[in-house]
Amino acid sequence: MTLNAILITGRTINQGATIENKTSPDYQEATALCELNSKDIGILGIKPGNQISVKTDHGEVVVKIKENNGNPDGMAFIPMGPWANAVVDPDTKGCGMPGFKGIKAEIKPTDNKILSMKELIARYK
């Protein structure tokens, strides 16, 4: 029921199309998700659309699962944005760039709620 994955983050067309509208449900729909292949979703014993918790050494976030069979086994992709950035590696490795790709993550099914952008940022205040 737990999947050990390598997390990468990046752009998607829907993330980009809603980027100037970050308080909208469309932005959350486009960005608060994690893409895994169907085999990995099967390991978790859940279906696309269900919620998962993605936990790394840097944080934990709840997002919706989405199927993407372009991903190799054990690779998780979260579109760039506040949900992805809750769990990325902040270390800039001496060149200014945080670690947005290649983060070890533990993924589990959860019933916890997906926080809105405002709720997510409120955790930092």
Binding site: N21, K22, M75, G81, M97, K101, I121
Partner: protein, 432 residues
């Protein structure tokens, strides 16, 4: 009704210049030729309508006048010992110029969104230079096109159609049929699905794969192991043959290289590969820049300060050392004691620990839209949208400067006006 033809798109680094915009009563009612990204931005969404302020970040904002908000912004910058001025990529070069002047006057660190995008590419260019070409040259000549760690179908939707893959060029009359397209990525993206060859690299192994290609290219295939970064030696040898057979090859790279483990060293190695391929045939390399004018900030900052970004004015003269002076460096070290975020969204695109620090210090936001940075701001100053309501200069991803057109009249002050008024107020506070 007014129809504007050949309008320019203020979304991504492609800066498509063939849009048709229909305007009725100062409202954009229709767009032709734009992609989903450009159309969403140009059609617009809910704007912040008036300046807002709050002392406590957990309380609600109260609407204030521009004068009050500008005064408070100036006070915050004036009182700060280590201000950070970040963003800039969604604004025009004229805005960058004013921002850099203000940064110099308050001794700030000024950094742009490239810090989480292509700033490592700049570091690699310092080391190796950049054998590159305009998108026009690539459209007209390129017969082998490689996308390495970039996914234009999602991030630059019209790139392949207008410039690199499907476009018919002067010496490339057949368009797609005349070009060999290779995608190197960690996962099979939609772009990979459209390629002639997909090379699947293990996450974080790009540096190894580039090194193996360089070894094979220089005649040392014997030292290359049977598999490198998840790719068979056989496929790597075949890939080198394909690359060498080009008359004019182009490599477009993205965050797959700049954000993975080796950061700028991946780009450094890729530029070396390009240099070495030029011993056999013509090759160019080009970063897939994200925001429409992120390249412009690098240009303006370079000619104003000598450095492309992450410039620290604390010493009175420009100092640059990413790893020390980039936005996330100073936020993670909790060194910054105030921030101005303009035309970029640090709240959404920085790691949690950086945003945690922003939540603890005074933050001024200058932006048309309510975003994650608004949530950690004390002063919010809404402005007109550059490239839609304000004309000016932007640099396309290949460094070609273009004049962005005004589509409708602004109803709010421009970034330039707001920055000028803040600078004026800072000077008054300093008794000048």
């Amino acid at each position: 009704m007014t129809v504007i033809t050949d309008a320019l798109c203020p979304f991504c680094g492609c800066v498509c210049d063939d849009l048709t915009i229909v305007v009725e009563n100062n409202k954009i009612t229709d767009i032709k030729n734009a992609c989903k990204l450009g159309a969403a931005k140009i059609m617009g969404h809910h704007r912040i309508e008036a300046p807002m302020m709050r002392a406590d970040k957990k309380s609600d904002f109260k609407e204030v006048s521009y004068e009050e908000a500008i005064n408070e912004a100036a006070q915050i910058l004036f009182k700060s010992k280590r201000p950070l001025m970040f963003g800039w990529a969604s604004a025009l070069c004229e805005v960058h110029k004013k921002g850099i002047l203000l940064a110099e006057e308050v001794g700030a660190i000024i950094d742009n969104t490239a810090t989480v995008c292509h700033a490592p590419s700049t570091l690699a260019v310092h080391e190796k230079g950049l054998p590159t070409a305009t998108l026009g040259q690539i459209k007209n000549r390129s017969d082998v096109v490689v996308f390495w760690g970039s996914n234009p179908v999602h991030a630059h939707p019209r790139h392949m159609g207008r410039y690199s893959v499907f476009a018919k060029g002067f010496f490339q009359e057949k368009g797609r049929k005349g070009r060999k397209v290779i995608v190197v990525d960690v996962r099979k993206t939609e772009t990979a699905g459209m390629a002639d060859e997909f090379v699947q690299v293990q996450q974080g192994s790009d540096y190894l794969v580039i090194s193996a290609l360089r070894a094979i290219l220089s005649g040392h295939a014997d030292v290359v192991p049977e598999s490198v970064g998840g790719i068979s030696k056989e496929q790597l040898v075949k890939l080198v043959d394909t690359l060498k057979a080009a008359k004019f090859g182009s490599i477009f790279f993205g965050m797959g290289l700049t954000q993975s483990i080796s950061r700028y060293k991946n780009i450094d190695n890729a530029i070396s590969l390009i240099t070495e391929l030029n011993a056999f045939t013509k090759y160019v390399i080009s970063p897939m820049r994200g925001h429409y004018n992120v390249t412009g900030f690098g240009q303006v900052c370079s000619w104003e300060t000598g450095f492309a970004t992450a410039v620290d004015f604390a010493r009175g003269a420009p100092y640059y050392n990413p790893g020390e002076t980039a936005a996330n460096d100073v936020l993670l070290r909790k060194e910054t004691d105030a921030a101005m975020i303009i035309a970029g969204d640090a709240g959404a695109h920085f790691p949690a620990d950086s945003v945690r620090h922003l939540a603890r210090i005074p933050v001024v936001q200058i932006d048309p839209y309510w975003n994650a940075t608004t949530e950690v701001s004390n002063v919010v100053i809404p402005v007109a949208i550059c490239g839609v309501e304000v004309e000016g200069t932007a640099y396309r991803m290949d460094g070609v400067s273009l004049r962005m057109r005004k589509m409708i009249e602004p109803t709010l002050p421009t970034d330039v006006e707001v920055l000028e008024r803040i600078t004026e107020r800072v000077r008054e506070l300093r008794g000048e």
